[in-house]
């Protein structure tokens, strides 16, 4: 318990140090900083997480039970592809600096999504060959 308290105090000190740095160095920008702290949180909790819940709900209804697992791997890969691509596609700096954003990103997104689909398909096919897993067996009996 004493160890936990010591670790906790260290954490609080680090948080305090960060807060003091902001107060001292960017006092005039605190409202903007708070908006950028709260904004991503709100987007995640209010938009991204509910949208994922919706996709999961939909997946459970339209996909056969044995591909649920592979589908989650596919969703994580595809979602990561999209999130990583957003700043690349939206940045206003494209073309302003030699060598910055010098790839074909729509093509990169297509490759990422194809890889996600391929891996999902592969996992589902491999899974079919094996004997049914425990959760599939017990799924109806519970």
């Amino acid at each position: 318990m004493r160890l936990r308290v010591a670790i906790g105090v260290l954490g609080v000190l680090a948080i305090g140090f960060g807060a003091v740095l902001i107060l001292l160095q960017e006092p005039g920008r605190i409202p903007r900083i708070l908006v950028w702290l709260a904004g991503p949180l709100a987007v995640h909790d209010g938009l991204l997480a509910p949208a994922t819940l919706g996709l999961a709900w939909l997946g459970r209804r339209v996909l056969p039970r044995r591909v649920w697992g592979p589908a989650v791997v596919g969703l994580a890969l595809a979602g990561t592809t999209v999130l990583l691509a957003l700043p690349l596609l939206l940045s206003p700096a494209e073309g302003m600096v030699p060598g910055l954003l010098d790839r074909n990103y729509p093509r990169g997104v297509v490759i990422g999504l194809l890889a996600a689909a391929l891996i999902t398909g592969l996992l589902a096919t491999l899974g079919r060959g094996r004997r049914p897993s425990r959760e599939a067996e017990s799924g109806d009996g519970d």
Partner: protein, 394 residues
């Protein structure tokens, strides 16, 4: 004000009554075994990201006690590459970690006690600081600054808030982390089955591993040359004019006219006198060729062959003491990186050059023509371009 408070109260009351509750999320994946495992990977990423970021900060804002080695020359290339890549790997890990604990957001009663309220507040601080670091870091590497505050300052300050919140969270959750990590990811067959069965928990761990490894593979080519073709979402290919990427162009720095002025001279001052060197005078000095990477704070890097005059030859020419550091000033009239200091260890290193050529050609205007600093194991922003003055510091 009073009306809006009652409106908020009414909204909260409606949420309490009709909104989702923790128990409404029956999936087996909202689970402390998964939270602990994904959390461990995420904690490691954040720890490494924090330490490498702190190193980069200290190199740029050296205190008296901090010593950054000159060798190996690729050290900063690796630490900063790792900084950006662990941040990228943390993106899917953070989102999946949040998924495992999402129902907690709807725990009722929302606040049981002052302590419980503080704990929930600390989690909100943790999640916002973590998301802030990943979002702003990702936008910084694509030069997208819509926020109107100083990115380096605030990213550094919030890094302390984020790592402090991680440490606090570990302290608060230590028993749950222990439980989560020591129990197997799957229940024993005899254990009661959860209400809503789904695929094995291992699938979520597989998804977390695949997505974070995939994210690294898709971006690491900006610093790992043999991954260049595979990294389809890398910010840079690592190519650029004369084979080297550029971060600030001569046009953006506003130095085009002064850099191409035939009257340009490099002023070198020290305790033993001062020199005013034309480009021809620099070319007449002994030239050395070194292979050094240019490694940006944004995580990209590229190796190149540089040719020019040794910094230590210039230092000796103006009578610098062997333990003297030097200040390099650019033709730029403003900007965060107009001036840089080169510590004494770097001044003495034979690889540190005032470079006149890169990859066999005179420096292109965007690479710092007429001459630039290039030294081992330093952030690109400190490899000052378009040099106008070099001073030996007392």
């Amino acid at each position: 004000m009073g009306a809006s408070v009652t409106a908020v109260e009414r909204l909260l009351a409606t949420l309490d009554e009709k909104g989702p509750r923790e128990g409404d999320f029956p999936s087996r994946w909202h689970d402390e075994r998964l939270a602990a495992r994904v959390g461990l990977a995420l904690g490691i990423c954040f720890g490494v990201c924090f330490v490498t970021g702190l190193l980069s900060h200290l190199i740029q804002h050296p205190g008296g006690w901090f010593v950054w080695p000159v060798h190996p020359a690729w050290l900063y290339r690796v630490t900063q590459g790792v900084h950006v890549l662990t941040g990228i790997a943390a993106i899917p890990l953070l989102l999946i970690k949040l998924w495992t604990v999402y129902p907690r957001l709807y725990a009722v009663p929302r606040v049981r006690s002052a302590l419980h309220g503080l704990e929930r507040l600390s989690v909100a601080v943790l999640v916002s600081a973590a998301l802030f670091q990943l979002v702003t870091g990702l936008q910084n590497i694509v030069h997208w600054y819509p926020w109107g505050f100083s990115f380096p300052r605030v990213h550094y300050a919030v890094a302390w808030v984020a790592i402090g919140s991680v440490v606090l969270h570990i302290a608060v959750k230590l028993p749950a982390i222990r439980r989560g990590l020591t129990s197997p990811a799957e229940e024993a067959p005899a254990e009661p089955r959860p209400r809503a069965d789904g695929p094995s928990r291992r699938w979520l761990l597989a998804a977390a591993a695949a997505a974070s490894l995939g994210a690294v593979l898709a971006t690491a080519g900006q610093t790992v040359p043999w991954l260049r073709r595979a990294s389809v979402l890398a910010v840079r290919t690592g190519r650029g004019p004369q084979g080297v990427p550029v971060n600030k162009t001569a046009a953006a720095a506003g130095v085009r006219r002064r850099a191409t002025d035939p009257g340009w001279r490099l002023a070198v001052t020290g305790p033993g006198g001062s020199l005013s060197l034309s480009l021809a005078a620099l070319e007449a000095m002994p030239q050395h060729v070194v292979e050094l990477p240019i490694a940006c704070v944004e995580g990209w890097s590229a190796s190149a062959s540089w040719r020019g005059v040794r910094v230590r030859d210039l230092a000796e020419a103006v009578g610098a003491a062997p333990d003297a550091s030097m200040r390099f000033t650019s033709l730029q009239t403003g900007g965060l990186y107009r001036v840089s200091e080169l510590p004494a260890r770097h001044v003495r290193a034979p690889e540190s050059l005032v470079a006149l050529q890169v990859n066999g050609e005179p420096l292109n205007l965007d690479h710092g023509y007429p001459c630039r600093l290039i030294a081992p194991s330093r952030p690109g922003v400190l490899q000052t371009k378009w040099l106008s003055q070099i001073e030996v510091l007392p």
